[in-house]
């Protein structure tokens, strides 16, 4: 007999084979992380039902099986390897296996050189990811598959990691996109993620085998893989058991299962893991803590007929919808807090209808909406005001603590913190897409472990040795928890550990505080997650300060909105909100289209309401709403892009075409090289402006999935150029950038400097096209002039030294002219903005942030707010070199520091920094830029961008910035 045990991240699988290697028993069950108990149970079951005390060949496999196998001294088979063993036996002739598990994605190439690929530590789980998304859609995995079968369209969802995708899906839900379409889009994202992350340039073709839970259970997922790969894959019999089968086949040592099971029992008795002090030293300490927090309350009065005019605040959040009714004295009359079930509109309608029914003759004086769905709800129900959520929270916090100087809000999916100085929001921290999770993570986790979230959180309060889970994004936390469980941590200690991690994430990842004094001493905490007393306690302990948690911690946005409405309307005002009759006739139709107005191709969601009013979301500019193109005369980003696109191919004397990829530093050096080659008599063609399609074209050849998005786009540009019939592609390696004398050195970052090497090593197109990626330093003009002819001669032997010299002169002249144009236009925009009394925003990034696919039209969003946009390089020459606390050695970043310094001297100029996810250099530059700005009394705003197309969070941040600026200058 042979036994194979496969312990995965979420399920446990076991097979028993008889001596003819026939399957006599198999099981597939969720273990809810009770790995030891489950493993023991299954082994004893097999022992008594099949082996009756006899020994059997046994091997253990699976990501959660490793430590366990070691401890009970049973041989361990790496799971991918086990899959291969099984496939070789059961499905000979297979070329490629795609296996998705609870948290792993694997691709195995079996023919033409065996290779196995697993997802990197950043790619997140796939099965767990689908589960998480199903939870978000309020569906079971089966329901989600069914819904996806009805889909008519697919949305673009970031395919990097679960948390990113989630922030793409949430707005879709909020905007009312159809669940079926979202479900299918989720499966497609999984497909893209698997291919982009794992295939890494190797084509998947031939006989493809689908294994693992998600691929077995979802027909749509299989269909998506088939369509994307242009194959017809099969999901074989026992597709869930391949790893276990492989382990059984591989097993070469006999064990008594009874003994193994006993060894497991001993193992579970040892609880060795890194722990932290308990949250409460004693019951009494808890009671004091509890009593203290019960004091922060808003008076609640009965909602009687004599309540007078009322103000309503609606906070349409990412996962919940909150509504508060207050009277003219700010007393709370009514509250509602419920999940938004994917579409907040019907819920608001229901609550309003009930209000009208229960309170005939109700005088509604104002309705104010806030949160993610602010605009949608405002338009649907004709609310009076819309308020950016940060300001709503601040307004509410002031009610509890007039001198509040720091607010932290941990909600379902987002975390917001802001510092308050002189009565205005002086600094905002929003969690970047990679560390979100917070509340909804705790919830998903509780569910995965089989608990209700409240029950789960309460478990942690009196844990004796909370697990130390560290602080990082939730995807990583998943595996830390698994590890802790294996080490024998109790559920209580894990619960407490998770609560502490949420706090550490907020403090060290989002705010990056190093001491409580830095944040302020008067802190209000809010958001639903702080109802969890373990999180609250962990926060106080970590910060070493007593904070105020209002009893309406989860309703602060709505309450603040109501207060705002109250302060805005005069006595006797009647709200414009829908009347009971209108509400009865209310209807909402949702359609979604792709805007064809410009190259951004925004995915628009159009809500049409009963009164014919349309609400469009997902747009970056006003064009789909007003039909007019945005005014670009105040947008230096648009101007810079236009300048570059003006460099058209010119037929040359040599009758040869040079291709230049429009990526990374070419966004600045195109004028230089275009002029250089055109002067030499070459025709210069550039790859087209980046697009989603272009990115996907090259995505399969990206070797490192954690490189920054602008670099990854380069693969698509090479693929495009290869189709344009060029004689050579020119993209030199440049350790050094131009030297503008602003810093101690003038490097490029390693990625910009050497990315051509990666392209040369990984893009199959370049095997057939000569690729010039020599090392060049244009900051040493004399040496460059001397060396370039030789380098060029390797590819074009007929080019003479004299010709190159002339071309180099032309190139430098053109580059200088280009930079001068940018600076001139910058000056014009600044003058025009000043004449029109507009704010000027320095949207500071690097040259390639001009790429619309990289900046996602953020420049347009800023224009929409009525401000002008200039670039960092248009003003960086206006300050003298100065000393920075970090080593100032990268040309692009020297400009950033200089621009920040210049901003501090201009009252109407503020800086917003664009940061590409994965940019290691920006880990250094962001803190420095923040300090330069804050020293000069300016707000610092950072926007982290990736392939994500959701701009909801960006918009909130920008609006908060403008609200804070208005407050500061007394315009509010």
């Amino acid at each position: 007999m042979r036994v194979g045990l496969d312990i995965g991240s979420t399920t446990i699988k076991c097979v028993v084979l008889n001596d003819a290697d026939e399957l006599v028993y198999s099981t597939y069950e969720r273990h809810y992380s009770h790995i030891l108990e489950k493993g023991r149970e299954i082994l004893s079951r097999i022992d008594s039902d099949y082996l009756h005390g006899e020994k059997a060949l046994l091997a253990i496999s699976g990501s959660a099986g490793m430590g366990l196998a070691d401890s009970c001294k049973v041989s361990f088979v790496q799971e991918v390897f086990a899959t291969r063993v099984a496939a070789n036996r059961l499905a000979p002739g297979t070329d490629c296996i795609i296996e998705l598990g609870g948290e792993d994605a694997k691709i195995l190439f079996l023919t033409n050189g065996t290779e196995v690929r697993m997802n990197g530590s950043c790619a997140g789980g796939t099965g767990a990811f689908i589960d998480q998304m199903a939870t978000l859609l309020k569906m079971t995995a089966d329901e989600m598959d069914k819904a996806a079968q009805t889909a008519t369209r697919t949305y673009t969802i970031a395919s990097r990691c679960g948390v990113f995708a989630k922030s793409d899906i949430q707005p879709l839900i909020n905007q009312g996109a159809l669940a079926g379409d979202i479900a299918r889009s989720i499966y497609q994202a999984v497909v893209n993620q698997t291919i982009a992350g794992l295939a890494q340039g190797r084509p998947i073709k031939g006989n493809v085998l689908y294994l693992g839970g998600p691929l077995t259970f979802s027909s749509v997922l299989r269909q998506c893989f088939d369509e994307t790969l242009h194959v017809k894959g099969t999901c074989p019999e026992n597709s869930l058991l391949y790893v276990a089968l492989g382990a059984a086949y591989y097993a070469d040592e006999s064990f008594s299962l009874r003994e193994v099971s006993q060894r497991l029992e001993q193992y579970s008795a040892t609880a060795t893991y890194a722990s932290q002090p308990p949250l409460f030293a004693s019951k009494q300490e808890y009671e004091e803590f509890h009593a203290r927090h019960m004091k922060a309350t808003v008076p609640c009065l009965p909602f009687g007929a004599d309540c007078g005019p009322v103000h309503i605040g609606i906070d349409s959040g990412s996962t919940t919808i909150k509504l508060v009714v207050i009277d003219d004295n700010s007393n709370i009359l009514f509250t509602s807090y419920q999940p938004n079930l994917g579409n907040p509109v019907p819920i608001v309608r229901e609550v309003l209808t009930k209000l009208y029914e229960n309170h005939p003759n109700l005088h509604i004086a104002s309705v104010t909406t806030t949160g993610y769905g602010e605009a949608l709800i405002k338009n649907a129900f004709h609310a009076d005001f819309g308020l950016v959520e940060t300001v709503a929270h601040f307004t509410a916090a002031k009610y509890f603590m007039p001198n509040v100087d720091f607010i932290i809000d941990i909600g379902g999916q987002d975390m917001k913190c802001f510092k308050i100085e002189d009565g205005a929001i002086s600094n905002i921290f929003l969690n970047e897409a990679c560390s979100s999770g917070c509340g909804s993570f705790l919830q998903t986790f509780a569910k995965a472990l089989g608990y209700d979230v409240k029950e789960f959180a309460a478990l942690g309060l009196f844990a004796d040795r909370p697990v130390d889970l560290g602080s990082r994004c939730t995807v990583f936390m998943n595996s830390s928890v698994k590890q802790a469980q294996k080490d024998g941590a109790t559920i209580e200690n894990i619960s407490a550990g998770l609560s502490i991690s949420v706090v550490k994430n907020a403090l060290y990842k989002v705010i990056r505080a190093s001491s409580p004094e830095e944040l302020g001493r008067n802190i209000v905490v809010q958001g639903g997650t702080f109802y969890n007393e373990a999180v609250l306690r962990a926060f106080e302990k970590e910060m070493n300060v007593e904070v105020i948690r209002p009893d309406i911690a989860g309703l602060m946005g709505a309450y603040g909105a109501a207060l705002h409405g109250k302060s805005k309307v005069a006595a006797g005002h009647v709200s414009s909100v829908l009347t009971p009759e209108q509400l009865k006739a209310f209807e909402q139709k949702v359609t979604s289209v792709q805007c064809k107005g410009c190259g951004n191709h925004c995915q628009l969601t159009i809500n049409v309401f009963a009164d014919g009013k349309r609400f469009i979301s997902g747009n970056r500019c006003e064009k789909p709403v007003t039909g007019k193109a945005s005014d670009e005369s105040l947008d230096l980003y648009a101007y810079k892009l236009a300048l570059l696109l003006d460099y058209k191919p010119v037929k040359g004397s040599r009758n040869k075409k040079i291709g230049i990829p429009l990526c990374l530093n070419m966004y600045e050096l195109l004028p230089f090289w275009h002029s250089f080659f055109t002067t030499l008599g070459f025709e210069v063609v550039t790859s087209p402006v980046s697009s989603r399609a272009l990115y996907q074209e090259g995505q399969a050849t990206i070797p490192s999935d954690t490189a920054c998005f602008p670099a990854k786009l380069a693969h698509g540009h090479i693929a495009e150029l290869a189709k344009m019939g060029v004689d050579a592609i020119f993209y030199p390696c440049m350790t050094y950038n131009v030297d503008e004398g602003l810093g101690q050195n003038h490097y490029n970052c390693p990625v910009v400097a050497y990315y051509p090497e990666v392209l040369a090593g990984n893009c199959p197109e370049l095997e057939h096209i000569p690729f010039f990626y020599e090392y060049i330093d244009i900051s040493r003009r004399k040496d460059f002039t001397a060396k370039m002819p030789k380098l060029l001669a390797k590819y074009f032997p007929d080019v003479t030294r004299g010709e190159v010299k002339k071309a180099i002169d032309a190139a430098y002249a053109e580059y200088t002219r280009h930079m001068a144009l940018v600076r001139q236009k910058g000056e014009q925009i600044i003058e025009k903005a000043r004449a029109e009394h507009r704010r000027i925003i320095v949207l500071a990034g690097r040259p390639y942030h001009v790429d619309p696919e990289v900046n996602h039209g953020i420049d347009k969003l800023i224009l929409q707010q009525g401000a002008a946009v200039v670039t960092e390089d248009s003003i960086s020459d206006r300050v003298q070199p100065f000393k920075t606390s970090v080593l100032n050695q990268w040309t692009y970043h020297s400009r950033l520091y200089a621009a920040a310094r210049y901003c501090t001297t201009q009252s109407d100029m503020d800086l917003v920094q664009l940061v590409s996810f994965g940019c290691g250099v920006d880990a250094i530059t962001t803190d420095e830029t923040r300090e330069i700005l804050q020293e000069g009394g300016k707000l610092y705003t950072q926007l982290k961008i990736d392939e994500i197309t959701n701009l909801g969070a960006v918009n909130i941040r920008l609006r908060s910035l403008f609200a804070a600026l208005d407050e500061k200058s007394g315009k509010a």
Partner: protein, 443 residues
């Protein structure tokens, strides 16, 4: 904004204890002895544990590379410990310079110190690139030579230990031998003995012979090479005790020596001058220095081969390895050296490679992960797995990936490796394998 901490001055040599973060354990223990003899009071930090990473996270931007988090966390943890007289303690940090963000470690350290309330602690920089002229640690020529000797001897001991340990008949024999030699060489350092090139060349065979006398039984074992970002490659704190883990999996481990990195830094002066122009005298000086170092390295390798141990080729040969794969112009971080070491390992019979880097390490996107495809195309037997390290990447995950690599390696070992002939140390005793890479025309 500037964060200033006092510079390390000459007077402090006698008054201050210098704390050094741990990296390459053996090499650093010898260096410690060299510094002590010259009057420096030094301590290579041994504190680890979760507190170190937590402090790093607290005081350094969380997206900064893992080595910076750990090194700074380790310093602050040490200062917090109460073990040191804070008025007489200084910190030494190495700086590589160049376009990698690692050249910013010292700025990040200063900032963290000020934030943590240790703004009075002097910081010294150890670098060969002329950065931080005011805070460079004062080194005499004699001391510098001793440091070089410490690295050479350390590399040799580490290499020997790793080649004997998996095959030793008596558990602990290689370890005991290494301890013995560390103490012996520390003694030499204290007595100002045997640190000259000439003496080193004479001593190498003695050391190797001693190891060769340890009784061993040669059985085929999976041979694993480790390359990567310098800190994560060597530091057990940074790589979750990678070396020990691999040994526990019954592997022979090969960590290319620390001197390679020093030589790489020196070679880059010449390479940069060749590519872009610049000071010919500096470039020539660097080249001469390289030749001198390489002659010592060659003597060491010859000694190894003489007694049947594996030794890599000379550094000049190593510089030839990346041809056709990556240019020597890629000089940020570990740059071309990392690619070169991978090829050297594959050709030397260590086809199974762990490429260790901090999560999001920029140079390694290029010279590590970016080059694997090309290396595989030229050497189909290459079995390389990149592993990312950061404060929250769990050990389970990392070890699981490594085990996958090892599963493939073990299978090849059993089936007699279809593509690559099994190369044993004895086979290689005659010399390093010749360069087999094909160089496409026009490059």
């Amino acid at each position: 904004m500037e964060y200033t901490t006092p510079n390390f001055t000459k007077d402090m040599i006698h008054t201050h204890k210098i704390l050094i973060p741990n990296m390459a354990v053996t090499q650093f223990r010898l260096m410690e002895a060299a510094l002590e003899k010259e009057g420096y009071q030094v301590e290579v930090l041994g504190n680890c544990g979760s507190e170190v990473a937590q402090l790093g996270l607290k005081y350094v931007h969380n997206d900064t590379c893992y080595p910076a988090l750990l090194v700074i966390g380790q310093f602050i943890d040490a200062l917090n410990s109460g073990k040191y007289d804070l008025d007489h303690t200084a910190l030494l940090i190495t700086q590589t310079g160049g376009g990698c963000r690692a050249s910013n470690y010292i700025s990040l350290l200063r900032k963290a110190l000020v934030k943590a309330g240790y703004g009075n602690i002097p910081v010294a920089s150890l670098n060969f690139s002329g950065l931080e002229k005011d805070s460079g640690i004062p080194l005499t020529a004699k001391l510098l030579r001793k440091v070089i000797a410490a690295i050479f001897y350390g590399d040799l001991l580490a290499s020997l230990r790793n080649q004997v340990h998996p095959y030793q008949n008596e558990p602990g024999a290689a370890e005991a031998m290494t301890e013995k030699w560390i103490r012996t060489i520390q003694g030499w350092m204290h007595e100002d003995k045997y640190y000259s090139a000439h003496d080193m060349k004479a001593k190498f065979p003695d050391i190797v012979a001693d190891y060769a006398a340890i009784p061993i039984t040669r059985v085929p074992k999976v041979k694993v090479g480790v390359v990567g970002e310098i800190y994560v490659k060597y530091s057990p704190l940074g790589n979750n005790d990678l070396e020990k883990f691999l040994e526990s999996q019954d592997c022979e481990v090969n960590l290319p020596g620390l001197m390679g990195f020093v030589e790489y830094c020196i070679a880059n002066y010449t390479i940069t001058q060749k590519l872009y122009g610049g000071n010919v005298i500096v470039a020539g000086g660097a080249d001469a220095l390289l030749s001198w170092l390489d002659s010592i390295g060659n003597a060491m390798n010859a000694a190894l081969r003489k007694y049947g141990f594996y030794a890599p080729g000379s550094f000049r040969e190593l510089m030839e390895k990346p041809k056709g794969i990556v240019s020597l112009g890629a000089k940020m971080g570990e740059g071309w050296l990392l690619t070169a070491e991978m090829i050297e390992l594959v050709e030397g019979g260590y086809a199974n490679i762990v490429c260790a880097q901090p999560f999001g390490c920029l140079p390694n996107h290029i010279v590590g992960k970016g080059m694997i495809n090309k290396i595989r195309a030229l050497h189909p037997e290459a079995n390389i797995t990149p592993v990312d390290y950061d404060p929250s990447a769990t050990r389970v995950n990392q070890e699981n990936r490594i085990k996958l690599m090892l599963a493939v390696a073990k299978e090849r070992l059993q089936t007699g490796a279809a593509e690559a002939p099994a190369v044993t140390a004895e086979d290689l005793a005659g010399g390093a394998p010749s360069v087999k890479t094909t160089v496409p025309a026009g490059m």
